[in-house]
């Protein structure tokens, strides 16, 4: 059995999707997260098991809204989408053919859909008769840490003059041509995963991967209405970041090497305490930003608090404190209760000075 399977225990690995793959780039310095993700461990369950459930959730209103907007854009043979593509990319009127790959004759197995996706895209790329313009729900595949994973996409692929684009439909609003920068960034990272996977598919079919454009068509509701609007989103930087992170996943081997052979996060056989210890023995790199992106964050924060780590105060604070790792060290150096090591001399001097001024000013 594979080491990673041992780690996870006898449950199926968690499926990857564009969101989880995009998340690889969120805190690439964290070995803990890298290992849990590579092994396909259910972090949500694990966090709850060790007593620090993740505070994540999605409002039913947001889910409904997203689904109804998606349906609206695709309704009536993608009427809205065709209009937007004609307006923004100059798609010619004759290009209107549409293929839905959410199932193949009622069969919605991944294998089946992926095969059909490949066939349809290949035919389209060859430009033969009956080649399509819009491909809804293409099922793509990606190699992540040595595993092949299917990407259940919420996208439409689309070709214009031989170039293929990814269309991403999101329900956050574009008000006066501006949208929430955090949400746009998340959309860009996810779209980059699809662009990347689509390019891999092209390469595997012997087609030029560059025929998949780095310009993604982002479709959002305009202003406060439901009317869809499209914006081109250049995801080259996100693609580069993704490629970097995917290539770095090989470092899992290095992390694994340092762990004992029977090491496991198996929730079936291990007590919460044991799982907590196992998770704790893999180095984390906690930052407050994790709280909004990683299911294990509350566990890691509690651990950082236990260690009195300066990580609790945020990345910039830690850098401002000259990289000192612990809060007691910061204060000890400041009040001279702790002798500085040779490499701490400078920061110690600054802290003593800051403490003197601070104490004076407070008095």
């Amino acid at each position: 059995m594979n080491r990673l399977d041992t780690l996870r225990g006898p449950v199926a690995p968690l499926d990857h999707n564009a969101r989880t793959i995009a998340a690889l780039a969120v805190n690439p310095g964290c070995d803990r997260r890298a290992l849990l993700d590579a092994a396909g461990v259910d972090k949500q369950k694990t966090a709850a098991y060790v007593g620090h459930p993740a505070p994540f959730g999605q409002s039913p209103f947001a889910i409904t809204r997203a689904a109804s907007f998606d349906a609206l854009v695709k309704a009536n043979g993608c009427a809205h989408l065709l209009r937007l593509l004609r307006e923004t990319l100059g798609l010619s009127i004759s290009e209107a053919a549409y293929a839905d790959i959410s199932d193949v004759g009622g069969n919605d197995s991944h294998q089946m859909r992926h095969t059909r996706t490949r066939a349809l895209l290949k035919r389209a790329a060859a430009g033969g008769d009956g080649s399509c313009t819009l491909f809804d729900h293409p099922l793509l595949k990606l190699t992540v840490a040595g595993h092949e994973v299917y990407l259940e996409p919420s996208i439409i692929a689309f070709q214009i003059e031989g170039r293929f684009h990814v269309v991403e439909i999101k329900s956050f609003a574009v008000v006066d041509d501006q949208a929430d920068a955090g949400q746009v960034a998340a959309a860009a990272r996810q779209s980059a995963v699809y662009v990347h996977a689509l390019r891999e598919l092209f390469a595997a079919e012997g087609l030029d991967p560059e025929r998949v454009s780095h310009d993604v068509v982002l479709v959002c509701p305009k202003d406060f209405a439901n009317h869809p609007t499209a914006t081109l989103l250049d995801v080259r930087q996100q693609l580069a970041a993704l490629r970097r992170q995917l290539s770095r996943l090989t470092r899992i081997d290095r992390i694994l090497e340092e762990l004992p052979a029977d090491f496991t996060f198996d929730l079936e056989t291990q007590s919460p305490d044991e799982v907590g210890k196992a998770v704790g023995s893999v180095g984390a790199r906690f930052a407050p930003e994790c709280l909004s992106s990683c299911e294990m964050a509350l566990f890691c924060r509690a651990e950082a608090r236990g260690d009195g780590s300066t990580d609790l105060l945020g990345r910039t604070a830690r850098d401002a404190l000259g990289g000192l790792e612990s809060i007691p060290a910061v204060l000890g150096l400041a009040d001279e209760s702790r002798p500085p090591s040779p490499e701490q001399l400078e920061i110690a001097e600054q802290l003593r000075y800051v403490r003197r001024l601070y104490t004076e000013a407070i008095a």
Binding site: V184, R318, E346
Partner: protein, 433 residues
């Protein structure tokens, strides 16, 4: 086909630029000029060309130093030209400008407007009203914020915008996304705005006369991925010789490597430090001192000269680092400054305190590709980078979670990629201290 020589390529580019500028088909022409690509020469050529056909011209630069440099060069190359140096109240124009008989310096436009060429900073031009010029040259236009251009654009009919796209973007103390995505976002550079709102021809100067053959390919690839350029000189044209032999100590080995290859990475042991890392600061100051002690001589296409203190610069990211290096004892005359202030300047040897040295996390500020580009493209002979080990890991661990605004053109190169490219190159010239 016979390959074009650098000089031929540069001449062809200049000719095309002037044809577009004076041809009348466009109100503006943009010229992308990589480091040391003869931007000043182009400005001088354009000015004299216009002056020869009896036209009046205004020139805009961004700092007084740039204005004075230009005025000096213009007057030197075209002594017959009448040049008005317009300046602000209380500013004393340096002698290198006033020594030219053709130059009139004044803080009042009435005193200089009759000159064929009037030259001033954008800030000063903004106070000139009620006059117009047919022709304008805007120098360092990528450094100019678009709101500054807005204040002066009514003064001219047509303009040549010249600048280096790889350098630092203009800066604001205000952190707002209010105008993000608007074509006229005032926080963009002047060039970004005119290019988005007008369909203007964009030229580029294809040859760097400053950067040696050892540097041009790296700087071009890392910072100008879509506008490559080459060095105007061959490897054999430039040589940096240290007249005294060194000791087998890190500083001397670093200098030897830099003299031999044009690059050196002076690498200190990995450690997280405060910004004014004493060891790194000491290394920067010490390397400069030692370079002078060892009697560096620079040979180039114009002959040989001693590398004097004024031909050496130390560059860093922050003002407190500048102050710390100055306080660490540097030879008189050596320039120490931040990247922002080193833009557009040129030295024989530069010593760079790497913006990411000793940090645990990178911020957008430290990763900005323009900063590293400025720091690694000021030299004619060699560039020495002082850094703590561990930057590669820092880059690997850097989270890519930036914010993305709609309709804002993606900036290239990405700071991460550029940093990696430079670091990969430097690792071949590493001296462990």
């Amino acid at each position: 086909m016979i390959a074009e020589t650098p000089a031929q390529a540069a001449a062809a580019a200049t000719e095309a630029i002037l044809a577009d500028f004076t041809g009348g088909a466009h109100r503006g022409v943009i010229v992308d000029s990589p480091p040391g690509a003869g931007k000043t020469t182009l400005v001088v050529t354009a000015a004299t060309t216009l002056a020869d056909s009896g036209e009046r011209l205004m020139i805009v630069a961004q700092t007084n130093e740039q204005v004075d440099d230009l005025a000096d060069k213009l007057a030197s190359k075209a002594p017959a030209l009448t040049i008005g140096r317009l300046h602000s109240d209380g500013f004393s124009v340096p002698a290198r400008v006033t020594r030219h008989p053709g130059v009139t310096a004044s803080n009042k436009i009435e005193h200089v407007e009759a000159c064929t060429v009037v030259i001033a900073t954008a800030d000063k031009w903004a106070y000139v009203t009620g006059r117009t010029w047919t022709w304008a040259i805007v120098d360092e236009a990528y450094q100019m914020r678009s709101d500054k251009l807005l204040a002066i654009a009514a003064l001219f009919d047509r303009a040549l915008f010249v600048g280096d796209p790889g350098q630092l973007d203009p800066f604001s103390v205000v952190d707002t996304e209010r105008w993000a995505g608007l074509a006229w976002d005032p926080m963009q550079s002047a060039v970004a705005v005119i290019a988005r709102l007008n369909n203007l021809p964009v030229h580029r100067l294809p040859v760097s006369w400053r950067l040696p053959a050892s540097a041009a390919p790296l700087v071009s690839e890392a910072f100008y991925p879509f506008a490559s350029f080459r060095s105007g000189t061959a490897a054999a044209d430039r040589e940096l010789r240290l007249t005294t032999a060194g000791f087998p100590v890190p500083w001397d080995r670093t200098l030897n490597e830099a003299a031999a290859s044009g690059w050196a990475l002076h690498e200190l042991p990995s450690r997280h430090t405060i910004r004014t890392d004493a060891e790194a600061v000491q290394a920067c100051a010490g390397l400069a001192t030692r370079l002078l002690q060892r009697g560096a001589v620079a040979h180039d296409e114009n002959g040989s000269h001693d590398v004097s203190p004024d031909r050496i610069a130390i560059g860093c990211a922050h003002n407190d680092q500048v102050a710390a290096i100055r306080a660490a004892g540097i030879p008189a005359g050596v320039t120490v400054d931040t990247a922002n202030r080193l833009q557009g300047r040129e030295y024989d040897v530069t010593i760079v305190l790497h913006p990411l040295s000793g940090r645990r996390d990178a911020t957008a500020f430290h990763l900005e590709s323009g900063r590293l580009c400025v720091l690694t493209s000021r030299h004619r002979h060699a560039c020495i980078v002082v850094a703590r080990a561990g930057i590669a890991e820092l880059l690997d661990n850097h989270p890519s979670t930036g914010r993305v605004q709609l309709n804002v053109p993606v900036k290239f190169p990405d700071g991460w990629e550029a940093n990696h490219a430079v670091l990969a190159h430097l690792s071949r010239h590493r001296i462990e201290a």
